[in-house]
């Protein structure tokens, strides 16, 4: 309960909540005080001094001074104004003011706005250039030291929000500047190009290159002409008010030519949302917003800078029809007529179950809904699936078994506030970068404890308080041993268990074999380490467990996910803020694709196809008959094609020909199809096997919704018209359906959502109105629009409201012949998204990571004579890949790591098998072993010097403003005013 305090502001007494800074208190009273360095996402930085006021007769920085009872605040006296002006003049000494010809003159420049606010007409000391060059080395943004006001926002963001810890200010220089690592150029530093610095920069010092020369009416002027214009402007200035008025006019004019559209990122499951600034078809920049619910001002390299693919020349703009050994472009009429003919033929000749439909974890919710409606309602088959089967279905099953909902139990803010975070089988800082920043920040600044279990020593492992490396595929064993230990120590949450959980006795009995000794033997972990984990969970009031493919992509992936949930139930870590289970969804819409029934046995909302009452509801809603038997999942579809049962496939927005396991087997299946329709934005590997390729529109070119890993439903707005003859997927599916007599009449995706919401209780209250702008809803959403940021507060969605402990057994991972002596771990990379269909279209991203590489340990390198650039062939029983090596201690012994970013000879799934999780058919991608052969001893390192992994980050807390204050040329403006000195000195 916040206490109120009595204060006096400019002579007026008032009572306000006491836990705010002086600045916040003044702003809430609508008292205008300047501030430049302060940013709500960064807190008080204390570098600019413009927010100085008097509190109880003392000059203080209002941003960092907390209100206390009885404070007397003066924000308007001449002395206060003088102190503020001294501070602002120091800023102008560091920043050349040429607003009208500046690319950042868009109404948001803090320098411009504060000069205006303070009514400063002239600066007391002229700007003098600094002895530092502009750094243009990074492909995405540039730093201009002459414009840098040394506010430190970028440093604060890099050190304590993104926590890559690259930036700092060198306060020891005569003219300080921002530096990367230890004075590297930007491009040769540890900078991961996340974009935080350019987002928070209050002026044009740190700016996105997309804006340069594009944003203003006069900003594209060549330098030889620009310099005299700037000089003339400065010489003519009678006062800044006149100059700023002109630039304000120019800024207002820009609104007509720069479009700002809100969208949701199409890459990973974090679900960042932001504004995209565009001019005609040019993307100027991505501008995150404080109000974005999942990410605030944060982005990663892909979300901030990875949009070149939208305008790539390789985009499909016309339907393609196979003719002999090539495609020819065709008009839509011809392509759709062909599809209609072939679909009718297959359905009439072989029956509806001879057809299979693959929806997409990248496309919108509405598009997933329509794809499964086409399959079920028009064709009459339940053969529908999507790529979440390749990754997240085991986690969903594990959660359905235990807590009744297959989604994250809370929000990213819960992960942020957890006392303990355990990360199992997730390379979070590369796979879910923005989500990882919350963990890194809490760990760095707020005492959050971090435990990581992984084969590989990635960034999260490096930062962890405890890093455990169990043998591959043995997580269930140590998790169960830890749970058993907790129970035996009497640390189980008895009250939670007795009130809210069923099945305790059977479950405890099932734990008998998971002794520490057994676990030690199976996992290779010392029992002391496992006891440490148990103790950490016991000591923390709230524990959140994050997991990903290292858990799910195993033969026992569902059971391991279940074991995680069991541990959380035993310790009462559900239904309270900061606690819970967080399987981190991979794609932007993995959650949504499953939510909307792109599964062979479930309707939208996870209701079962075999349930007569549910089926009747959909039959009535759609006016059709729907088959009762579950259909084939994507794995079974491939087998079905080989068996001759599946003849026709319609696939959208997925590169199954690269991301399914055992690629040779999958490609052979594609070749056997009678008719194959692929709908995509590029001619993907999968599309190369198609008979008809339909050109689809990416997220920028349509409306719709995505559901992120937090179960958060967000709207995306259309930025561009579809390129060429491409169309949004929902329109294409509707046209196909209507060719087959469906009679659908959707005019806008909002109508599709309205229909879906009327049928699925999970989304009952979801409407486009409720999702307008940056509003979002986390399911379940009741019909009155009440949503559920935190699940299980009162009960679990089982008939008696109680969760269920679910006994599980360890499944031994696949074993291979001795010759396959290397374990091939695999997964994502920060810069590229999966195989890189979209990200390789970015020159900047490709320059940083031009190709795939195989991480090999120093021990293996020494043993086999490998070095950076050695090209090797890895061969498993299912196929082989050819890839260059990178020697690194991120892997150890005979563990190697092959990331996914290749669609050619280095594609990981040439090695993987069809072996899968026993409960869900999720391929056991992590259970591969291979043998190695050297093809070429010497070669260039696959990771160029400019990759951020070669950098040298310099961790510190914030901008270290104390170093600025300690400089001999610094005097606090308040002290100068007291001395009666009116200027810097």
């Amino acid at each position: 309960m916040t206490e109120y305090v009595g204060i006096k502001v400019n002579g007026h007494a008032m009572s306000i909540p006491g836990d705010v800074s002086v600045m916040q208190a003044l702003k809430e009273q609508a008292i205008d005080i300047p501030s430049v360095c302060y940013h709500p996402a960064l807190g008080a930085i204390e570098t600019c001094d413009t927010c100085i006021v008097e509190v109880n007769g003392e000059f203080v920085r209002s941003c960092s001074t907390m209100i206390q009872d009885g404070d007397v605040i003066d924000a308007v006296s001449p002395d206060v104004k003088q102190a503020q002006e001294i501070a602002m003049n120091r800023i102008l000494y560091n920043h050349e003011l040429y607003c009208t010809v500046c690319d950042y003159n868009n109404g948001r420049c803090e320098v411009h706005n504060t000069v205006k606010q303070m009514k400063i007409e002239h600066q007391s000391e002229p700007f003098t250039p600094k002895p530092h060059e502009i750094d243009n080395s990074n492909p995405f943004y540039r730093y201009d030291p002459d414009q840098c006001i040394l506010c430190g926002r970028c440093v604060e963001a890099c050190q304590d929000v993104q926590v890559t810890e690259t930036l700092s200010i060198d306060w020891s220089l005569k003219r300080p500047r921002v530096i990367w690592d230890k004075h590297s150029t930007i491009n040769e530093s540890s900078c991961v190009s996340c974009g935080h610095c350019s987002t928070v920069c209050p002026c044009n010092a740190m700016m996105e290159k997309g804006m340069e020369g594009e944003a203003g009416f006069l900003t594209g002027i060549k330098k030889p002409t620009l310099r005299p214009m700037i000089e003339l402007t400065k010489n003519v200035e009678t006062g800044y008010s006149s100059i700023l008025a002109i630039s304000d006019v120019e800024a207002a004019m820009r609104e007509s030519r720069i479009k700002k559209t809100k969208t949701v990122c199409t890459y990973c499951g974090v679900g960042c949302s932001f504004d995209v600034w565009t001019k005609d078809r040019k993307i100027l920049k991505v501008e995150p917003q404080m109000e974005a619910p999942a990410n605030g001002i944060s982005t990663c390299i892909k979300g901030k800078f990875g949009w070149d693919f939208v305008n790539s020349e390789e985009r499909l703009t016309k339907p393609l029809i196979r003719e002999g050994d090539s495609f020819r472009e065709a008009e839509w009429e011809e392509a759709l007529a062909l599809i209609e003919g072939k679909f009718r033929e297959a359905k009439d000749t072989y029956g509806p179950d001879s057809m299979a439909f693959i929806s997409s974890s990248k496309c919108t919710n509405e598009e997933s809904y329509l794809m499964q409606k086409l399959a079920r309602g028009v064709i009459g088959t339940n053969n529908v699936d999507n790529c979440s089967r390749y990754c997240q279905t085991p986690a969903t099953v594990g959660l359905f078994r235990t807590v009744g909902y297959g989604g994250d139990s809370g929000s990213i803010t819960d992960i942020e506030q957890a006392e303990l975070v355990i990360v199992v089988g997730s390379n979070t800082s590369e796979s879910h970068p923005v989500l990882a920043t919350r963990v890194k920040r809490s760990h760095k600044l707020k005492g959050q404890k971090l435990i990581v279990s992984d084969l590989r020593k990635h960034e999260m492992a490096d930062r962890a308080d405890l890093f455990i490396q169990p043998r591959a595929g043995t997580d269930l064993v140590w998790l169960s041993a830890v749970t058993k230990y907790i129970v035996e120590q009497g640390w189980a949450d008895e009250s939670f268990l007795s009130n809210r959980v069923n099945g305790l006795d059977d479950y405890v009995k099932s734990l008998e074999k998971y002794t520490m000794e057994y676990a030690e033997q199976v996992t290779g972990l010392p029992k002391e380490m496992m006891i440490q984990v148990a103790e950490a969970v016991h000591e923390a009031d709230t524990t959140s467990v994050l997991w990903a493919m290292g858990v799910t992509q195993h033969s026992g992936g569902s059971d391991t996910s279940t074991a995680i949930s069991n541990l959380l139930l035993i310790t009462g870590n559900y239904g309270k803020p900061g606690a819970g289970s967080y399987p981190l969804r991979g794609h932007n819409n993995v959650q949504g694709a499953s939510d909307f029934g792109s599964m062979p046995d479930r309707f939208p909302g996870y209701e079962k196809v075999a349930d007569d009452a549910v089926r009747a509801k959909y039959e009535k809603g759609w006016g059709v008959k729907i088959p009762a038997d579950p259909g084939l999942n994507n794995h079974e579809m491939v087998s079905g094609i080989h068996a001759g049962d599946v003849k026709v496939m319609y696939l959208k927005g997925e590169d199954m020909g690269l991301v399914d396991s055992n690629l040779n087997y999958v490609h052979e299946a594609f070749e056997k199809l009678d008719f194959f329709v692929v709908q995509d934005i590029f001619l993907s590997k999968t599309a190369q096997y198609a008979d008809v390729v339909l050109p689809a529109a990416p997220s920028f070119e349509k409306e719709g919704t995505f559901t992120n890993t937090e179960r958060r439903i967000q709207r995306l707005y259309q930025v561009f018209e579809p390129l060429g003859d491409s169309k949004p997927d929902w329109q294409i599916i509707m046209e196909v359906a209507n060719r087959l007599g469906a009679g659908w009449t959707y005019n806008h995706p909002s109508e599709i959502m309205a229909e879906a919401a009327s049928l699925m209780p999970l989304y009952a209250g979801v409407t486009y109105d409720r999702l307008s702008g940056y509003n979002s809803l986390q399911w379940p959403v009741a019909s009155d629009g009440t949503d559920s940021p935190l699940l299980f507060l009162d009960e679990f969605p089982f008939p008696d409201g109680k969760a269920r402990l679910f006994p599980v057994e360890w499944t031994k991972p696949l074993e291979y012949e001795e010759e396959y002596d290397l374990h091939v771990n695999n997964g994502r990379l920060l810069e590229h998204f999966h195989e890189g269909n979209m990200t390789y279209k970015s020159k900047g991203i490709t320059s940083k990571t031009p190709s795939v590489f195989l991480e090999v340990s120093p021990e293996l390198a020494a043993e086999r004579g490998l070095e950076d650039g050695t090209v090797v062939r890895l061969t498993s029983p299912h196929g082989s890949v050819k890839v260059p090596c990178l020697v690194t201690d991120r892997v150890k012994g005979k563990e190697v790591y092959l990331p996914m970013n290749d669609s050619d000879e280095g594609a990981i799934n040439y090695l993987t098998s069809s072996h899968a999780d026993k409960d869900t058919d999720t391929p056991a991608y992590k259970e591969i072993s291979a043998k190695m052969e050297i093809l070429k001893t010497k070669g260039d390192s696959p990771l160029p010097r400019i990759n951020s992994r070669n950098g040298d980050p310099q961790p510190q807390i914030g901008v270290q403003v104390e170093k600025k204050w300690a400089r001999p040329d610094y005097i606090f403006p308040g002290d100068l005013v007291k001395k009666g000195v009116g200027q810097r000195g």
Binding site: I221, P228, V236, D325, S326, R328, E329, F670, Y689
Partner: protein, 159 residues
């Protein structure tokens, strides 16, 4: 049943068909904006009569060079001063209340006409002092002093 293929044969629209499509598109635009176009063409016709179109075309085609020359030409201290003083003067004028100054302006006008007459008479006096231009200056200065004096007197009496 098909192997992976990557070759795409683009749909080629022959020149005639493309031209037909382009013309159709332009025709639609023209019809839709008929009234606006008529006004615009009328305006262009008037500008063209005055040679404005030719001048504008040259200005745009040599725009970079023109801007470069212009900016460099005015990036001189005296040009900056002229602009600055001009802006200051505008600012000052903007602060004057001209309606209050009405009587003063009238008096100034009559003083100027007197000074002019003096100036004409004194031309012969100047001639008497052998065309010494300094005398003319003295006269102007005297006239100016008279003006100032009279202006002062006028203000005093108006209060």
């Amino acid at each position: 049943m098909a192997k992976a293929i990557t070759t795409i044969h683009r749909l080629e629209i022959n020149e005639e068909e493309q031209r037909r499509r382009d013309l159709e598109e332009i025709e639609t635009l023209l019809v839709e904006h008929k009234d606006t176009l008529k006004e615009f063409l009328h305006m262009l016709g008037e500008i063209n009569k005055k040679g404005g179109l030719e001048m504008g075309a040259s200005l745009f085609s040599e725009g970079d060079r023109v801007l470069d020359v212009l900016v460099k030409a005015i990036d001189k201290p005296e040009a900056a001063s002229i602009l600055k003083n001009g802006l200051l003067m505008l600012g000052t004028l903007g602060k004057l209340n001209v309606s209050e100054m009405g009587p003063l302006v009238n008096k100034l006008n009559s003083v100027i006409s007197v000074a002019t007459k003096i100036s004409r008479v004194e031309s012969s006096a100047v001639q008497l002092v052998k065309g010494n231009t300094m005398s003319k200056s003295w006269l102007v200065a005297a006239a100016g002093a008279s003006l100032a004096g009279m202006a002062y007197m006028a203000r005093k009496s108006d209060r």
